[in-house]
């Protein structure tokens, strides 16, 4: 094939496992088409919760996604609590933040080590690394196990937590469990430094690409925002309350995709670890900041591939904050709370930062506590338009590398965003050998 002709068509495979298509058509050096397509079937989770009682909603929405189930639970609970004017106790807040950090730890460590590191080593999956980088893979497995057990200890399950309820937790971890997890978290810091060292040794392989965009994340005056905060971007000076999220996300549809896209002050924005870092890095914990700096993330950065470096720094942050919250819980007398919720009509919005970016849930309830309207805005959808614009800048800059390398770089870019396009199907597709 002539170097001036490029045809890339990375298609999704089945109707339920659609993770987006990459389409590039270059004829005689002229770019005819560059598209990031998201062809998944529309999801109607919002319709599913209509008519359901307020106490059931978070359990249902946590099943939307197996990777971000804790984040969905909290966005949902916060929206319901906002609608009904329910305040949570300090204990519940600490438990929720702890659990949310557990999810970030779980997700980031796997994404960086199982999907990004193979890219940096130019192998097609993590499988060959079992032979070549055995110690590191075992270390990742150990860290992932710890993250899982943290989530299990607080949420009652590793995914789809069952103890987090409207206004309270239905069961509390005991002191012994918390102390055991804390010790392992403290010990894990050295392991995380080793992982950071591995990523540092490979970070030079990250593509040299920059495109400044608008970065959207929650912002909270007291800390690097994950659980609390309002909407902030680098294009505005004052935060916008999460209750006004629709004025920020401005969802719209495009012909090539069934997923909704979003934009605010520019043609697109980015959400996720790099957006959080760019907007709030001054508030991140010292060790996380140090790790980010060690990996080339020193202040604001416009390279979307650095999203994965921000994830490494946030993994350290999640562990440091988890230890902080466990200390608080150990130093306070924990009591099971019997919050009596009297349902009432109202509208509420809940937002949290999940591994892939800011997540919004909005519900309206009737007088009896039944949901009459719902809206979920997931971070991956908010990133689609930014991926498209990155593609449009990348293709002319990287097409001289040839079709194969260009395709690799575009796929690597999609992975850098850590998308959750058609989440949560585990469907088998097999044929019998005999």
């Amino acid at each position: 094939m002539s170097k001036n002709n490029i045809k890339i068509d990375v298609e999704h495979v089945t109707r339920i496992e659609g993770h987006g298509n990459i389409v590039v058509d270059v004829k005689e050096g002229k770019i005819e088409k560059v598209q990031w397509q998201v062809p998944e079937a529309p999801r109607f989770f919002e319709a599913m919760v209509k008519g359901r009682y307020f106490s059931e909603i978070a359990t249902i929405t946590s099943r939307i996604c197996g990777i971000c189930s804790i984040g969905h639970t909290f966005a949902s609970l916060k929206a319901t609590e906002d609608a009904m004017g329910i305040k949570i106790s300090e204990t519940t807040r600490h438990l929720r933040e702890l659990l949310l950090h557990g999810e970030t730890f779980q997700s980031h460590i796997l994404h960086v080590c199982y999907l990004v590191v193979p890219d940096l080593l130019k192998v097609n999956s993590v499988l060959p690394l079992i032979e070549t980088h055995t110690d590191i893979i075992l270390l990742v497995t150990k860290l992932h196990r710890l993250a899982n057990e943290l989530c299990d200890c607080i949420g009652g399950r590793t995914t789809h937590p069952i103890r987090a309820r409207v206004g309270r937790f239905s069961m509390l971890p005991n002191k012994k469990e918390l102390e055991a997890i804390k010790k392992r978290l403290v010990d894990s810091v050295d392991d995380l430094k080793k992982i950071a060292g591995v990523v540092q040794s490979l970070a030079g392989n990250l593509p040299d690409f920059k495109r400044e965009t608008e970065y959207l994340a929650l912002s909270y005056d007291k800390e690097y925002a994950f659980y609390d905060g309002d909407c902030l971007t680098n294009d505005i000076k004052k935060t916008i309350p999460v209750r006004e999220y629709k004025n920020v996300v401005n969802e719209f549809i495009v012909p090539q995709s069934t997923a909704k896209y979003g934009k605010f002050n520019r043609d697109a924005f980015m959400v996720g670890a790099l957006a959080r870092w760019n907007n709030n890095y001054k508030q991140i914990t010292p060790l996380a900041k140090e790790v980010g700096k060690m990996l080339g993330l020193d202040g604001v950065n416009y390279n979307p591939f650095m999203n994965n470096i921000a994830q490494v720094a946030e993994t350290v942050f999640a562990v440091e904050r988890a230890i902080y919250h466990i200390d608080w819980l150990l130093n306070n007398d924990l009591k099971l709370e019997e919050t009596e919720v009297k349902p009432k009509a109202g509208r509420g919005v809940g937002a949290v930062e999940v591994p892939r970016g800011v997540l919004f849930h909005e519900y309206e309830y009737d007088d009896n506590g039944y949901c009459v309207k719902a809206n979920c805005v997931i971070p991956t959808n908010l990133n689609h338009n930014n991926i498209q614009l990155d593609f449009e800048k990348m293709v002319p800059e990287f097409m001289h590398l040839g079709e194969k390398e260009l395709q690799f770089h575009l796929e690597m870019l999609v992975r850098a965003y850590d998308p959750c396009v058609s989440c949560s199907t585990h469907y088998l597709d097999v044929e019998f050998k005999k």
């Binding site: 993770h19 099943r63 899982n148 590793t158 989440c423």
Partner: protein, 158 residues
């Protein structure tokens, strides 16, 4: 020993594995067998992805239950071992959300986390995967038969 039901309860037949765990639990309860007497963990894993990697510890046997496309008529099911099948599922490795149980088991084997755990899979052929908390009529009707077989397998220590 564990029975692990996989699938998303919000996507009709895709959630059959999770629903199978509900039915199994009820079956034990109906037969007057208390949790501590069951000698088996019944796990509605939902859509756990790589979190499954840590389910093998000290378990002699794991039975996975999942819905899927296994070349049968809707509602029919089959018991098999991982080596009996070839996965047709293709993933782009874009995200942790992509999951292929057969590929995962190969990964777990190479990671040497499976130890001597025996792995059995029950797959029920899905009729539809659409946004609904309810399974299709045919899968709902046939799933209890699959559960009955698993129950026998547990009780007989097969």
């Amino acid at each position: 020993m564990a029975v692990i039901g996989l699938g998303n309860r919000l996507l009709s037949d895709e959630g059959a594995g999770a629903h199978a765990i509900d039915l199994l639990r009820r079956k034990f309860s109906d037969d007057g067998i208390a949790d501590e007497e069951m000698n088996v963990d019944l796990v509605d894993a939902g859509t756990p992805g790589m979190n499954l990697l840590h389910e093998f510890d000290e378990r002699g046997k794991i039975i996975f239950v999942d819905a899927g496309n296994c070349g049968l008529n809707p509602g029919e099911f089959r018991r098999f071992l991982p080596g009996d099948v070839k996965s047709l599922k293709k993933t782009n490795h874009f995200s942790l959300h992509e999951f292929d149980l057969i590929g995962f088991l190969e990964f777990a084997k190479q990671m040497k986390v499976m130890g001597n755990t025996e792995v059995v899979i029950y797959c029920i052929q899905a009729a539809e995967v659409t946004m609904s908390e309810n399974m299709s009529g045919v899968v709902r009707e046939k799933l209890p038969y699959l559960v009955e077989e698993i129950y026998d397998e547990i009780r007989k220590g097969r």
